[in-house]
């Protein structure tokens, strides 16, 4: 497999312009001759479909929810970065670029990241013009805050619902194109396979989730914006429906999968309360500004009421271990330390599966210092949400928190044009691997999704179509199409008719999640990964033997939907462990216990300064590794230290 990044050369600040100048265009009058499929209606897909429709292409857009407005982008709370420098605090495109490359622990492509930083400012302009009600100052200008440890205030926000408001902006733009007849929206329709013809992506096979109808959709090209795969862990902050089906099917057709083991764990989520837990809820990271993290020093105290544990018996482990940063250490450091103290038996809260996985986040000092009113003003909504879910009042008793999977930096490998290794197949948003390296900075995913959707894809898609000009007609009864439809139908049949049906798909999903979370989660080692690699294929075999789906495929059947998604997670999970085992270093969200020094991750630039792009060779568990070397001209790799 050839990995060509197709990056332009020359001074980094001119690369995107230069690339645009040398790219092919499709004339306005010709655009209506092209059919484009966009799978996904989140920030990336919604923005891409709306923009492509507006340019004059014929677009078909798909989502599995009942409306495009419900894509999981809607759940983003914190905000979106942009290098506007409105606060006059020294921000610039270069600084945002620099922070993102460094934050990604030097595992991303400089050209892509620079373009992202450049486009960040256009996103804010676009969103404001659409009517996104960002927070404003008294003078009427846009407000900013500093987010996730950034040293400048470059984050734009709309209360705690930034993702919702940005998505509604994209959804409204999409609605306008639907009304104009340029986008055909197919909601509650799930892509189950990709159609490849003559080496190019030419369509998809879908199942209508309402009627069960399986059918092909043929086009000139396909864009996947189907979000992240964090639900491989079963429990995560993602929506229940988030899945890897579209990107995994593409992978099996030849799209390389990059850096699958790079996953981000968020330190402040509400802990699991029981076996039945279906998802985890994120609490804003800003809570760590005023809350103090601790566990009891003595195991005997873990079941005591926290108020009854005297100060001397409390272990403020972040403050003790990292005096300079204290409770504000970066996400991965905070997360790993919570794992370690709970491994030692010091975890608090409810016991699940024989373990207590929770630590306290205590506001009593902040309340004493600033008064309850101030704390209420700062975090009132979050405290309410916490009480609704956990049933405790955080003004009176410390919150309990624990890390949870939040974001996946890995995804389909794409070049500078966001094209995968299958010609005509593009990927945007969280579904690709492009911009965040081994670790994503807060408020950067919304930025990337919208940059891809509004500004990169509309352009690079045109370049592709301008290059291929006309593609041969592909009829629905062509053998390649019939084969794809046939294999989808066969798979549905297999899922519904396991030889020894015993358990609902969740049963297997929970088991997979437990393996991945404990062995390929916050902290990984060779032994654990090898164990996981023995366990996952066994679980997968059991799944195909024992999965139980009731009802028929020709109706709304949510069990069948879940079964198909779990089947793919069972393959992707294995690839994650293979990738994590192969990468003998610690970087960003990937922490290998063998590669650390006093708890600090040890990156190995000599050996691992590359993107791992895994190629499907015909069977799960036997991928071939391809490497895209990374070079750093503008930001020189440095070691991080938070001690």
């Amino acid at each position: 497999m050839q990995l060509r990044s197709n990056e332009p050369t020359g001074p980094i600040e001119h690369r995107w312009e230069k690339h645009k100048e040398s790219s092919k265009l499709v004339a306005p009058a010709n655009r209506r001759k092209y059919n484009i499929i966009v799978v996904g209606s989140g920030l990336a897909g919604g923005a891409a479909a709306a923009s492509l429709g507006e340019m004059g292409y014929n677009v078909k857009c798909f989502c599995y929810q009942d409306s495009p407005r419900r894509a999981h982008s809607i759940a983003a709370q914190g905000g979106i970065n942009a290098a506007k420098n409105y606060q006059n605090d020294g921000d610039s495109v270069f600084r945002l670029f620099y922070d993102t490359v460094k934050g990604g622990d030097f595992r991303s492509r400089e050209s892509n990241v620079y373009r992202l930083a450049q486009l960040s400012t256009n996103i804010i302009d676009q969103a404001v013009a659409q009517g996104v009600p960002f927070a404003r100052e008294y003078g009427g200008l846009l407000a900013n805050r500093s987010f996730g440890g950034a040293q400048v205030s470059r984050t734009f926000y709309a209360r705690g619902q930034t993702g919702q408001q940005l998505l509604l902006g994209a959804y409204q733009a999409l609605s306008r194109q639907i009304e104009a007849g340029k986008v055909e929206m197919m909601a509650r329709t799930e892509m189950l396979d990709l159609i490849v013809h003559d080496g190019r992506a030419r369509g998809i096979v879908t199942r209508c989730l309402k009627t069960g109808k399986v059918e092909p959709h043929i086009a000139d090209m396909v864009v996947l914006c189907t979000g992240g795969y964090g639900n491989v862990f079963y429990l995560s902050t993602n929506a229940k429906g988030c899945n890897c089906m579209a990107i995994w099917r593409a992978h099996r057709h030849g799209a390389a999968f990059a850096n699958p083991c790079y996953t981000q764990i968020h330190p402040t989520c509400i802990p699991q309360s029981g076996e039945y837990q279906s998802k985890l809820t994120l609490m804003s990271e800003s809570l760590r500004n005023d809350g103090r993290v601790w566990v009891p020093r003595n195991k005997e105290d873990v079941t005591k009421r926290p108020e009854d544990i005297p100060e001397k018996d409390r272990f403020y482990y972040l403050e003790e271990r990292y005096p300079a940063f204290g409770n504000l250490v970066p996400r991965d450091v905070a997360s790993r330390n919570a794992l370690y103290v709970t491994n030692e038996g010091l975890g608090v809260g409810l016991e699940v599966d024989g373990e207590r996985r929770g630590v306290y986040l205590d506001f009593s000092d902040a309340i004493k210092r600033l008064g309850e009113q101030t704390i209420r003003e700062r975090y009132g909504n979050l405290f309410e949400m916490y009480e609704r879910i956990a049933g405790d009042n955080p003004y009176k008793t410390p919150m309990r928190i624990y890390p949870a999977t939040h974001y996946t930096m890995g995804g389909l490998w794409v070049d500078y044009n966001l094209q995968t290794t299958i010609p005509g197949l593009f990927a945007g948003g969280e579904a690709n691997f492009s911009d965040h390296g081994a670790n994503r900075l807060g408020a950067s995913a919304l930025m990337q999704g919208l940059a891809d959707g509004y500004f990169v894809l509309p352009f690079t898609v045109g370049n592709y179509l301008g290059e291929v000009r006309t593609l041969p007609e592909l009829a629905e009864d062509h053998p390649d199409v019939k084969k794809a439809v046939g294999s989808v139908e066969e798979r549905i049949h297999k899922l519904m008719n396991a030889p020894d049906p015993k358990h609902a798909p969740e049963y297997f999903h929970r088991k997979l999640g437990r393996i991945i979370w404990s062995k390929c989660g916050m902290s990984r080692n060779k032994e654990g990964l090898e164990e996981a690699l023995r366990e996952i294929p066994k679980l997968r075999d059991r799944f195909w033997r024992e999965v139980k789906v009731v009802g028929s495929g020709a109706e709304l059947n949510q069990t069948l939907e879940r079964a198909g998604r779990v089947a793919d997670f069972l393959e992707l999970g294995e690839l994650m462990c293979i990738d994590a085992l192969q990468r003998e270093e610690s970087c960003g969200g990937h922490f290998r216990e063998e590669h650390e020094e006093n708890g600090e991750a040890l990156r190995d630039d000599e050996q691992f300064s590359y993107v791992s792009a895994w190629e499907w060779t015909g069977a799960a568990g036997e991928p071939r590794l391809n490497q895209e070397p990374l070079s750093f001209e503008y930001v020189k790799p440095s070691k991080r230290s938070y001690k």
Partner: protein, 261 residues
């Protein structure tokens, strides 16, 4: 944090498809932890049904954190259940007592046909937005964002209206099955902002015409919608919408005074 286990009886609306007749079916829900969310309680019931080879209860959900608007059902006559300002996915079982009997029904409105069991088709909401619930701005043609200051009070009000998650509880709660609160929230969000002025009257006229065409009832000021709304969207937006519609009958942005479709 204390945990109790509840035993409940569920009477669930089961309906195989849009044109099939529906009926209540009774299922016990036993050993339900007070820490479970309402939907997790249904997950547990469903997993049990599947293992027994029976058809699980269909209900919509996705984010399970009160923001995507996918979930929604009527519990004992109340849209999204008993806790105010809370979607059914965020409702937790500690709001219930041991021995409770719960009646679960889908949103009932002619604008929301039942798909299956508790799942309804809310695509009418999408069509109302398509009729004009946007600002026409081409990608890439926006001017510098800070060129147009927006008074903070206005921006805050627009945000209040924009909080709507499109769940449909307002329709389900309304005796007339009116979609006024949903439609008014979008019209108000955009009409409060300077960016939304150019299409303001046409937007109101077209969205309201679409709302009527979808078969939703009219608003007769019961206020049930506001009480059921999990996001606290205010009734005052309906009054605002009505003013816009009155104005749009005599004035127009585009010169056309009739609804587009």
């Amino acid at each position: 944090m204390s945990e109790e286990l509840l035993n409940l009886t569920l009477h669930v609306w089961r309906q195989d498809g849009p044109s099939q007749p529906g009926r209540f079916e009774t299922h016990p829900a036993t050993g339900i932890s007070t820490h479970m969310s309402f939907l997790e309680m249904l997950d547990v019931v469903n997993e049990d049904l599947i293992e027994k080879g029976k058809s699980p209860i269909a209900f919509d959900y996705d984010c399970r954190e009160g923001i995507c608007g996918s979930c929604g059902m009527v519990v004992n006559g109340v849209a999204h259940g008993p806790q105010r300002l809370t979607t059914i996915c965020q409702l937790h079982m500690r709001q219930f007592n041991d021995g409770d009997e719960l009646w679960l029904e889908p949103w009932r409105a002619s604008g929301f046909p039942v798909v299956k069991d508790l799942v309804v088709d809310r695509s009418a909401f999408d069509r109302i937005v398509q009729a004009g619930g946007y600002i026409s701005i081409r990608t890439g043609s926006a001017t510098e964002a800070n060129e147009m200051p927006v008074a903070k009070a206005m921006a805050d009000q627009a945000m209040d209206a924009a909080e709507c998650i499109g769940c449909g509880a307002c329709v389900a709660a309304c005796p007339n099955a009116s979609a006024s609160l949903f439609t008014a929230a979008k019209i108000s969000h955009l009409s409060l902002l300077p960016q939304g002025q150019a299409e303001r009257l046409d937007r109101a006229r077209n969205m309201v015409a679409q709302m009527d065409a979808e078969g939703f009832g009219g608003c007769t000021n019961h206020g049930e919608c506001e009480a059921a709304c999990p996001k606290g969207v205010s009734l005052r937006w309906i009054a605002r919408m009505n003013r816009e519609v009155v104005r749009s009958a005599v004035k127009s942005d585009s010169g056309v005074k009739t609804a587009r479709r």
